[in-house]
């Protein structure tokens, strides 16, 4: 293909992926969150805008577009403004290596990188920088505390997440996400690696700062954490980053442990979406099931439970792989 055709293809792919994530993950995700929260608390949730309140988030976004854009005068303007772009961009970069399905022409993925799994770990670690920038740039005590806590938490849970990524890479003998999905043709890794799956899911919940690891945004003490000072569309962009990251984590969990797009009868993309939303539902379910951790409990849980467990799991997996491939 000539280079300009490739360029157009890349740009169009990016726009599709961005809009897709903004609509499916952020907008629909927020609606789902409110609906499921309502259902779990025996209330109805949004009901008035559109059929069954389906257009509620769209209305909210349009409202946020018309809101005044306030930058506190004590804030560091440059960092305050850049953080808004860093967080959603870092979250969306994750989607490059997530295979959504397969077609006649090959797997449906933005780009199947050789080092896909490491790439995923790298881009999701960039979110931490954006969050620290937002927290510091606001020059607000709540925001800075939220940002610092968030960074300490996210870096602590990056280690168990990385270890479970390695366990899967070891099983599949590859770092490419498509190869990993193909390696699960016989058996999904959730069966072979239940421990790694649980570690990944726990770490993913912590990485996206959701309950029970939400002390970063603990409304009752820190207002909204690192984005307390952001209003209007900037607030919406942080929400896009949060929900985008949450869907990316769920999508990666589907890819690594639930066989990706694989499944009988239904088309592959549909299977992927079903599994994705099942995991999203789990995230939301957990939110209304567990109370919030304290920061010492949270860090202890990562360093003294998850990391030793995933190290042991890695050694055990290495042993089994050695025995099976001798």
């Amino acid at each position: 293909m000539p280079w300009w055709l490739e360029l157009i293809r890349a740009i169009v792919g990016t726009i599709i992926l961005f809009t897709g994530v903004a609509v499916v993950a952020a907008m629909f995700g927020v609606l789902l969150e409110r609906k499921i929260s309502g259902w779990m608390q025996s209330r109805l949730g949004p009901k008035h805008v559109g059929p069954q309140g389906l257009l509620q988030t769209l209305a909210d976004t349009l409202k946020l577009l018309q809101k005044e854009n306030i930058v506190p005068h004590r804030a560091d303007r440059a960092i305050f403004a850049t953080a808004v772009i860093v967080v959603p961009l870092a979250a969306l970069l994750d989607y490059v290596v997530i295979p959504f399905g397969t077609t006649r022409w090959g797997p449906l993925i933005f780009r199947d990188l050789n080092v896909g799994v490491v790439y995923f770990a790298a881009t999701s670690s960039l979110v931490v920088v954006g969050i620290l920038m937002a927290g510091w740039g606001s020059n607000n005590k709540y925001a800075l505390l939220g940002g610092l806590r968030s960074a300490a938490q996210m870096v602590s849970y990056e280690i168990p997440m990385g270890l479970s990524l390695i366990t899967v890479a070891l099983m599949a003998g590859s770092l490419s996400t498509v190869t990993i999905v193909n390696a699960q043709a016989g058996l999904w890794y959730i069966v072979a690696q239940p421990v790694a799956f649980l570690v990944f899911l726990t770490a993913a919940t912590a990485e996206v700062n959701r309950v029970p690891f939400d002390l970063v945004e603990a409304e009752s003490e820190l207002v909204a954490g690192y984005f307390s000072e952001y209003s209007g569309m900037r607030f919406a962009l942080f929400q896009l980053g949060e929900y985008g990251e949450m869907f990316a984590m769920a999508g990666m969990a589907v890819t690594l442990f639930l066989g990706g797009w694989r499944g009988p009868v239904l088309p592959p993309v549909l299977w992927f979406v079903i599994k994705l939303y099942a995991l999203i539902f789990v995230f939301m379910w957990v939110r209304w099931t567990y109370p919030r951790f304290r920061i010492d409990q949270l860090l202890n849980f990562s360093w003294k439970v998850l990391i030793p467990v995933s190290l042991l799991n890695l050694v055990a997996t290495a042993f089994v792989v050695m025995v099976m491939h001798r």
């Binding site: 808004v84 970069l93 070891l170 010492d296």
Partner: protein, 118 residues
């Protein structure tokens, strides 16, 4: 391979533009009526005292130090994981020694209280 990364670069650049687009829209259409009180830092309704930029706990630093060491450990495991199945017993023993040495580090940090949040 370069083509793959060309795509990633385009994704990053176009993505940054797309993320900045709503900011351009609000710059064009959002109302502006700022007055000094509105631009105050939010502190639950009371006047802000001092800057938020102050000295923070050494704990955060300690955790990030331990984190960097373990993060570096993990990157060594990725290439190993790719070839481990063809490496046989050698690969297993190699990783066992590697992880045992690092677990010593974890135990040391644990015993010294570097993982305690006080």
């Amino acid at each position: 391979m370069l083509l793959d990364w060309g795509y990633v670069a385009v994704f990053a650049i176009v993505g940054a533009i797309l993320a900045a687009l709503p900011l351009l829209v609000i710059w064009l259409i959002a109302p502006r009526s700022a007055y000094p009180q509105k631009l105050e830092t939010y502190e639950s309704g009371v006047p802000t005292i001092g800057q938020a930029w102050s000295q923070f706990n050494v704990r955060y630093y300690l955790f990030s130090l331990v984190f960097v060491v373990f993060d570096v450990e993990i990157i060594y495991l990725y290439p190993w994981a790719v070839v481990a199945r063809s490496g046989g017993a050698l690969a297993f023993v190699e990783i066992l020694i590697f992880l045992v040495i690092l677990t010593l580090g974890l135990v040391y940090a644990w015993r010294k209280g570097a993982l305690e949040w006080v």
